[in-house]
Amino acid sequence: MKRNKGITICALVLVSIQFGCLKKPDITPETPTDNRPITTILKNNYAFSMLYTALQRTGLDKTLEGNGPFTLLAPDNDAFGRAGISPDSLAKVNADVLKKLISYHIIKASIPYSAIPQSIDFQFQTLAGPVVYFSVPIPGDQQFQNLNAKIAHINGVLAKKVDIKAANGYIIVLNKSLYYPAPTVKSILESNPDYSFFVKALKKFGLFDQLDKTGPFVVMAPKNNAFLQSGIDETAIDALDTINYKKILFNAYLLPSYRFFTTDLNDAPLGRQSPPGIITPDYIQVMQQGDDYTPANFGLYSLNYKFIQVYALPPYYGNAFIYGQPVAISDPDHQALNGVLNGIDGVVMLPDSAKIH
């Protein structure tokens, strides 16, 4: 009796030890995937009604029902509104122009958030031909954005939602619809009457023609209101000329051989020990990042800005923006094939600072 009991207990213990270390992964529930193609998801969602109408008009909805894989950069109705497009104005747009604009929002690749390279201005080819630029926040000690939130900027526009999986690709919802890139920065300036003063001034100083070269250029363009607010009207611009004023008066607004969007200042911030902007022989073109509530800033420091800031002596008292105050970039990131145009609402260098004595 006792012996049998003992043996049974030992046998039970042996058996339980053998089974104790069985390692098998637990059954994890499958993540639900959407088997609907991209067009069906848009059709069933009222927030994308304007986009879906546009897709139907241009015939691109048939394309997006295909195998793909596609990634659709989808502006919802609010996003069109932020770009100044209402359902009526969208209906009035020429079908060919609309097709170019909408196919600029389609990439023939499958891009979940994890596949976006950790860099700024990474180019993806669109169906329309020109590229779109993807930027994600880069970790660093000056990075203030939340790295756990899936933040991405496409052509300077924030992606509201990423990783909406469809059967034939992904949808990325944009905060604002993208502008189709203009051929050159020069053409953007010429076609917008708000920049007429700036165009006139650039032509007078001989700086306008370079803007249709290959570039790239970043141009900070003051609107006509900006000039008027500083007391410079059209006659005052006519009075400016290269004999009495140095070229830097308007050269300060051009950043040749750079291409970046204002959101890149948040994604890849300038290092703590690097200069605050672009150093030229006459001044430093300073760019300061903005955030969700304030736009980015542009201004001009003098070359000895460190001395001015440390020894807060007259006449500057620690303010290194000696040519004029920094201005907000209120209308940023208009893309051209040879650069980016940003509309600013102020004048960074007053004519008196550039007078040739």
Partner: protein, 425 residues
């Protein structure tokens, strides 16, 4: 009785079958060479320099590529390779530290920096479990890894700063190949490979390989050796208007060996030093070229042990943060000057001076915790005399020091000499 023994035996047998797992012994490498890889890139991409790369790399030897030529995996993978630390020893000093987390302190007050949530390896092999080099010529070289000699394809890929291993990354994140080259390693030789930036403005990068000669040279027991090499690329345009300090192209180096002056300092609060006889701002060397692969080692005396103790207690190392002070241990100070400028501009606190002073007096145990970007740690290196607690006493070991000057800072690689014998100084 017999049954009890049988049951006991069965129980033990079952426990042993269910219990431990044994590690395989890694097979030895035939005809090995020894390599150590550093990432010298200290600046990252920013909005105005969008072609620069974030300095987070993967080191691959003989990578396997897929159809489009993108690397998928490799025989040797040095993943999560981040910028090197200011101070490296000849044995892996981070072996006992976790790879994740940060552990650096920065700013004026030495506040902890936010933790880094992905693994970091400051060098290859670093924390990697690979076979290491043996002792050669009396030097402990366990920070160098074994690799079969011969011709190898070496690739460095820029990888995103997250905790995904290289082979699990999607293709778009494995495609930024920084360096792709072929190197031949000779059997028994020791190589140090460093990823360097050749031009910061145009974002050009390269690989610097140094075949170490100290394993073939004879060194005297009563001397310390220091060699300098300039591994900066082209001076960036930012240096022109005094907005940032970068080392000049030609560097003249002077040296002073400071000994603490106990009587003069005993009034309290002040640190007075006198220079060692014959080492008062004496000329040391001039570096005329960059990226030299031959490093001439120059000798300094190894002081006797009584210089390092005061009334039987070990003297103090220099304090680097909060209130910097030079400490009381004897330390060497190097002045790195522009060889073309006869006059030294001391700087006014706003514009950098035209000379750079490197005080070699810090504590090697804590030196790598100082964030080089936010503290003055770049003006210091650990003491060139290595103080080791062995046999219930402190002993001072001689070292071989290689100072590598990269743009705006000096990296020290210190090799302990005579680790198996207590020094007789």
């Amino acid at each position: 009785m017999k049954q009890h023994r049988l049951i006991l035996f069965l129980l033990l047998y079952a426990a042993s079958m269910a219990g431990c797992k044994k590690y395989d012994i890694i097979p030895l490498v035939d005809n090995p060479s020894y390599i150590r890889v550093f990432n010298n890139l200290s600046t990252t991409v920013d909005a105005l320099h969008s072609t620069q790369v974030p300095p987070f790399l993967t080191f691959l030897v003989d990578p396997k590529t897929d159809g489009a030529g993108m690397p998928t995996d490799a025989g040797v993978v040095g993943d999560f390779l981040t910028t090197r630390q200011l101070f490296s020893l000849s044995y892996p000093i981070n072996e006992g530290n976790s790879s994740v987390g940060n552990g650096t302190i920065g700013g004026t007050f030495g506040d902890p920096d936010p933790p880094v949530l992905y693994p970091l390896n400051h060098e290859y092999p670093g924390n990697a479990h690979v076979l290491t080099a043996p002792v050669i010529n009396g030097f402990d070289l366990s920070a160098w890894a074994q690799i079969p000699s011969g011709t190898h394809r070496i690739m460095f890929v820029v990888r995103p700063q997250n905790s995904t291993a290289f082979k699990d990354l999607p293709v778009t994140q494995r495609s930024n190949i920084l360096i792709d080259t072929t190197v031949t390693f000779e059997k028994g030789e020791v190589y140090t490979l460093e990823v360097v930036s050749r031009d910061l403005d145009k974002s050009k990068y390269g690989l610097y390989i140094r075949k170490e000669q100290f394993i073939h040279q004879a060194f005297e027991a009563d001397k310390l050796y220091t060699g300098f090499v300039n591994l900066s690329g082209k001076t960036p345009v930012n240096s022109k208007y005094g907005s940032a300090f970068f080392f000049p192209d030609k560097i003249k180096i002077n040296c002073t060996y400071n000994i603490y002056n106990d009587p003069a300092s005993s009034a309290g609060g002040n640190y007075f030093f006198y220079p060692l006889q014959g080492y008062d701002n004496v000329y040391y060397t001039t570096l005329n070229t960059k990226m030299d692969t031959e490093v001439p080692y120059l000798a300094l005396p190894l002081l006797s042990e009584n210089f390092f103790f005061y009334q039987g207690v070990l003297r103090k190392y220099a304090t680097v943060i909060r209130v910097p002070d030079p400490g009381t241990l004897p330390y060497v100070q190097f002045r790195l000057l522009d060889a073309d400028k006869p006059i030294i501009d001391p700087g006014d606190g706003v514009d950098p001076s035209t000379g750079f002073t490197l005080s070699c007096g810090a504590d090697p145990a804590t030196f790598n915790t100082y964030n080089p970007n936010t503290t003055v740690a770049t003006s210091y290196t650990p003491n060139l005399n290595l103080v080791v607690n062995t046999g219930h006493n402190f002993h001072v070991y001689s070292t071989l020091n290689i100072m590598e000057i990269v743009y705006d800072r000096v990296y020290l690689m210190q090799i302990q000499r005579g680790f198996d014998n207590v020094p007789q100084n």
